[in-house]
């Protein structure tokens, strides 16, 4: 019996399955250029802080801006629903795991207060910081003008999956080309994770895309609805869309990989896969300055009927600056992320992020098994 062609599936890859190959030339790490440009802004480090309530509040945003990155404030989170967000954040940190999802569902069902949007943004601007803020597509038309009036510099339109086209009989979706015209600020849209979806988003006129569906530490999207693309493949596809779009239109739309990056090794691989910048959640939730008090949770965790997420305990490990720039005495890749990136570029022979995009990457899922033979010592009396 002849067999027809069955449904085809391609193999995809995540951080733990790949590795970078040293270059034939090496470069002095001090002489690498890792700056990231978005619209007329240039950031000295190619890192964004996630629009998550455990990561960004006005004060951590100011600090993050001072060290050279771009923090994104969630305009639909605790900061804009509560006059006194710290009280709520403290409550989340004090609640047992078994009850925390219900609590989050309740907390996030409170209304957003327009007044607080203005206040939070102004707090960031008054410190002289660049202010980015995120809104979901359905609320963008209403909230974006308020935020712009308050001084927002960069608009982030973000939901689990955002596409250039949305089908609904009950409402007219957000039309991105219209938004670009109306708002006239740098716009970042996401998340997406395939070549075609990335390309369609770029064609709407935006300035950068967020890449990543399902990979974050605080996310269970793949368990609940089966959807998710490993970040290395998602970034490779999105970077290819950027090149296609640039070749056809001459505009360079940045690719920002968002979610799943935990350690320096992941970060370095992301740039080799084609990212122009990365957005970090869990690693920054570990900073002394993080509002999450040692916990971290995702945006879909508070969905009233189908929550998708886990509150993870990340622990406070060091000040934000040390996590980003070291020096450090920990060797597991959680600190000195910028130093790790520069060292990796040096070893791989890349002077710029664009040269890093061309570094050779291999499929190398081998887990080191030394533990089988040698035990990392725990305690010496």
């Amino acid at each position: 019996m002849p067999r027809p062609k069955f449904k085809e599936m391609e193999r995809t890859y995540g951080f733990d399955e790949v590795a970078l190959v040293p270059g034939d030339t090496t470069v002095n790490p001090d002489q690498t250029d890792i700056s990231f440009a978005l619209g007329d802004f240039t950031f000295s480090i190619p890192i964004l802080a996630s629009a998550m309530d455990a990561v960004v509040n006005p004060s951590s945003a100011i600090k993050f801006s001072q060290v050279g990155g771009l923090a994104v404030l969630n305009l639909e989170g605790i900061q804009t629903r509560y006059e006194n967000p710290d009280e709520i954040l403290e409550q989340i940190a004090q609640t047992p795991e078994t009850e925390v999802t219900s609590l989050l569902q309740k907390i996030y069902s409170q209304p957003i207060k327009d007044k607080l949007i203005g206040e939070r943004i102004e707090a960031i601007k008054q410190a002289g910081s660049i202010c980015a803020a995120s809104i979901t597509p359905t609320k963008t038309k209403r909230l974006a003008p308020i935020a712009k009036d308050a001084g927002m510099d960069v608009l982030v339109v973000q939901s689990t999956v955002t596409t250039a086209r949305h089908i609904s009989k009950s409402y007219r979706g957000l039309i991105l080309p219209e938004l670009c015209q109306m708002i006239s600020l740098p716009i970042i849209v996401g998340n997406c994770c395939s070549y075609s979806a990335a390309l369609e988003l770029m064609q709407t006129g935006i300035d950068a895309i967020l890449v990543g569906v399902g990979p974050g530490a605080a996310c269970t999207t793949r368990e609940v609805i089966g959807v998710g693309v490993p970040q290395i493949t998602a970034t490779i596809e999105s970077a290819a869309a950027r090149e296609t779009y640039f070749k056809e239109n001459g505009k360079y739309v940045s690719v920002i990989t968002d979610g799943g990056i935990r350690i320096g090794g992941d970060l370095c691989k992301t740039f080799a896969a084609g990212a122009d910048a990365v957005m970090l959640g869990s690693p920054l939730a570990q900073a002394t300055e993080a509002p999450g008090r040692g916990y971290h949770w995702g945006m879909s965790h508070s969905h009233p009927a189908l929550p998708r997420g886990t509150r993870v305990r990340v622990d406070i490990i060091a000040p934000m600056e040390q996590i980003l720039f070291g020096p450090t005495s920990v060797t597991d890749g959680t600190q000195n992320l910028v130093g790790a990136l520069r060292t990796s570029m040096g070893v791989c022979g890349a002077r710029t992020i664009k040269e890093m995009h061309k570094v050779k990457m291999i499929i190398a899922p081998t887990i080191k098994t030394e533990g089988k033979y040698f035990q990392a010592i725990q305690h010496v009396p």
Copy 2:
């Protein structure tokens, strides 16, 4: 020394090895159509409840029919061997693991009582529910007419593996085309798991096939006899047979994937692989209404000489309706299965199950390793 062609093997895939890719368009989940048609019946949800004694008895069948699905009553189980099945089910729940297989072997060696077949079916029909019932191939000729007389609406002919042809010197096997003529009801036959076997079954004139050999939580067929095909591949092959048969004969024989689905993510992937409906065991054994009292076991578990199965403790987690439709505060994918399917279809841009069949699926075995760095908190004192 030239080498001949060795035996060839194809790579196959299970739930945990694949993921879905978001669409280039998204759809409002409320506007997805997930109905399932079988003969002249249309069910509002594409879910069947397994013909297992821990999942379906008359009262749970009635409830399941009321919420829009189709429950299948096992006509060779405890319900038709015992006047008072609850006594037996209680006994199973009270027996230690080390003794339960012997007990099941003894329980299922009691004779089937024709009278009880009638009574159980009538109980379901009197509640106004659609009644499906399952019989093994060797008993079908004798029991199917009794069940039909009692009001059975849908006949399920089911064994571990059922084929269109069976070789035996000692008896004449069940001839499916003859059965279809005789019984004149919608007939579902299974289980099968390959393109060729599925196609041969379709050619006998039946209305739907059950897909799945070896994947269920309560099944050890692969350990004991080495046989089993992972469900994603089995569903892809069976769906291809459906398309071949439809193209050649114009009849759409439904593909019902049976076994191994535990969480929303599995369910969503199954439809993307080509299923028209799914049959659930363990997830429904967790319902308050389930006869299994927090336990679940398989049909082959009571084989007198070669039992293949494990009694698993599934625990009672929520009422059936909440498992199916939410709302929920658990985030591991075990609740709100229908909501998960609609959300997944929305994100993947599928308005109907047939559009869901075309959603892009990838091979993505990466296990999220956040646990390595961040611990999900267990207790907060």
Copy 3:
């Protein structure tokens, strides 16, 4: 820089990575033929008992012959070095793990007594059993005639790796064609694990080969010297050699897969890979009749300078007959191995072992993960 062709490696497969596909036809298990022919002998079950001291002594060999299989007595083990082997076996069972390798090295350094070779073989023959005995290649010329005089029916020439050619300056290796002429008994030689090595062995005139290097439960050859081929691939290659040799010479040299088979599923897959018979160690060491007293160790475990093996605790689980033929109430595949084979053949539509060779096999490494969601219950108070 153009790159040359690098060293190539083929992917190989073990038991846990493959599964069998049900047939398009099914067969009544009672009507399957699983007999195994070797020389003029026909055995009712295609199973040999390993030439290991924990598995075969004269009394277990007699029992194994009575139920239809062929036990192989190790002529260089405890039975031929000690007048009272039970004393030694008891000592091994009583020694802590940390000291057992030294003990085995000491025990196996005692000389082989020619007189005991005769006595052990005669004990088996006097019970009316067929007697097979194993000798290593370097000792074959000296010991084989003694064993033949005592009544040995089948000669097994066995070492970790045996090839048709051996290079040494210090002695003349065993010449297999000369041995075949001299001994005029059915000869089984092993172990080998590739197409070319199997074919060369067949060309020496022997009757069967043992397949398997490195896979057994009591073997650490792969850890110590890096050598080993997974059993499914080794069997597929050896079976291809059998077909090549049969086509060219008209003689059917049997393929006996030896080592690594633990459960019914493994056994069934082995035959689908092309085996004519299997040799079992650990599964039979679990029999009440086994001399090992609940322990099992390998032939290389006692090497004086480079021991390769682990003594494993297998526990006594059931009488030999129950392990082979059931009935059973355990569902993990460790009992009723013959019933499992017949059932598997039935489901796969194979009437004979030769038809089983053609059954479709797939690569299906998925581990069932139900444990993540449902716990197999351990104790019910």
Copy 4:
């Protein structure tokens, strides 16, 4: 939408993913030749001891030379920074894991004393041993002449990644062809891990390369900066560069695989992948004679800002001679490494290391799962 070609990645392999296939011929292990030539030196075993402070000090170097290998002294470690190194080594062994990285950073920030370089090398030479010493590229021009004057026989230029070209605006890097002319000793350079980088290094006129980035037991390079190539692939690529270079220039530049080898099986596979010699760290840190006192740490572990490494407890298991030559009663592959290599070569039919390069290697990631069914016994009372 047509899709462009995405970034490509090749599959690579580590020790645990491959295995060796027995030969069609076997060889008597006693008659294998495993000698290793470097410049005018010939070593009876193809093993170098790592330039790590836990492995090599003058006394262990002398011992290692006596048994036929080549130990490499780290000229930038504890031996050349401290008059009394044993005091420092004792301090490291006594410090808890949580504090040891800070301690190492402090210890390795002390200045190197030129006088001690001379003293350590002379101690080795006075015992009649061949002396190899390692220097990092940036310090080579200054320290190599001092070491040569003191009697150094072999120069090792080593850093995590060393390439033929280095880009820096602030200093002129080491020019290897100039070094070769100046120093006129056998020169080993590393580490590298790809075909192109290895070939470029060979073209500078050196005598051997060290292969391996990221694989060692005490190394976390891959976690921290994402860089690393599994050793089997790295060795295969480097060996191909050696063949290319030899064909074009007639000079045989040796390939020395460095890092990640823990047991006999790893060692044997390394030679089959193409290595001429191996450099061992952890396995020799387990010797009674090792300066590390049961601990082991890497060269990058003491980096002041971005430490990459873990101190591992290796435990003292046996004298160096027993680890290398046995006899042994342990069966996990950690002892009698030379015996394992000879046995492996015998089983694979290789008389020399060059024949071992041609042995068939397979991809065989299967982990033996006997533990699932049979427990290795821990204690017998």
